[in-house]
């Protein structure tokens, strides 16, 4: 399997679109999942932003200096595209009467993802971003710092507050066993 740096070099030097297609195949899952969480399950919008993000990645690939992992850099561009979208369109929904008890059952993975995406609506954007990058994408706080430009302390507090809100939301939606 060809490594990222070789693929990037091929795209920059020869405009190799097959190499870029390989990069998209490799990272589309992480970027699309990340954006689906940020848009709280608006999958069509998330995929549109993901397409825009990959176009920007292609256009700016020669500015990638390798100081961070390609994945971190790609997430940073996706996050910036999301913020740009958010500036244009702002909508906040409240989730009402959503039955989170389904999470205890053996539901399909695809259904789990849908529920978690909807669950993100109870968090603000900064909390969604930090929680998703930390827990779902497995990034270190330092890497989240590169993506979001938040100070380390702020990232930690966003993660803790986000976790607490999610647990409260899940517990409050639980039907009582009594």
């Amino acid at each position: 399997m060809v490594d990222d740096n070789t693929l990037i070099a091929r795209v920059i030097s020869n405009g190799d679109q097959h190499a870029f297609a390989t990069l998209i195949k490799k990272y589309q899952g992480a970027i699309r999942h990340f954006l689906r969480r940020l848009t709280a399950g608006d999958q069509a919008t998330a995929d549109d932003i993901a397409q825009e993000a990959f176009l920007r990645i292609y256009q700016n690939l020669d500015t990638f200096l390798g100081k961070s992992a390609f994945s971190t850099w790609a997430h940073k561009i996706a996050y910036n595209c999301f913020l740009k979208y958010k500036q244009k369109v702002y909508h906040q929904h409240e989730i009402e009467g959503f039955d989170f008890s389904i999470l205890e059952a053996q539901v399909e993975d695809i259904e789990k993802d849908l529920i978690i995406e909807r669950l993100m609506e109870c968090l603000d954007i900064a909390e969604r971003t930090c929680i998703t990058l930390s827990i779902s994408a497995g990034m270190s706080h330092q890497e989240i710092c590169v993506v979001t430009k938040f100070p380390l302390g702020t990232i930690k507090s966003h993660i803790n507050r986000g976790k607490q809100k999610l647990m409260d939301k899940v517990n409050n939606q639980q039907p009582s066993n009594a």
């Binding site: 699309r32 978690i116 827990i135 999610l166």
Partner: protein, 98 residues
């Protein structure tokens, strides 16, 4: 479900499915090709426009600097406007975001 169970939340928040979609990849590559094609067309138009301006200019240089005289008869505001427009177009054409 335990409210203080951190591992529960961690497992819940994982990406449970793998999003792999060839159509998604194809759409992006087609988009890149379309943008490159559009950029190439604009470049060709820009070159033709440059030639269309440059050739009469070169010819008129031999004829008592006719073009320069004509140009100097225009308002400096118009000349500045056209120079800025040309400069802006050139910058846009060569920018990374284009």
């Amino acid at each position: 479900m335990k409210s203080n169970d951190d591992s529960f939340l961690t497992s819940l928040l994982q990406y449970h499915t793998r999003l792999i979609d060839q159509q998604f990849v194809d759409d992006i590559i087609n988009n890149i090709k379309a943008k490159n094609k559009f950029r190439l067309k604009l470049m060709v138009i820009a070159v033709f426009l440059a030639l269309a301006v440059a050739i009469p200019l070169l010819i008129s240089l031999g004829e008592d600097l006719f073009f320069i005289n004509t140009l100097s008869s225009y308002s400096p505001y118009i000349i500045t406007f056209f120079l800025l427009s040309a400069l802006g177009f050139g910058t846009w054409l060569t920018s990374d975001d284009f």
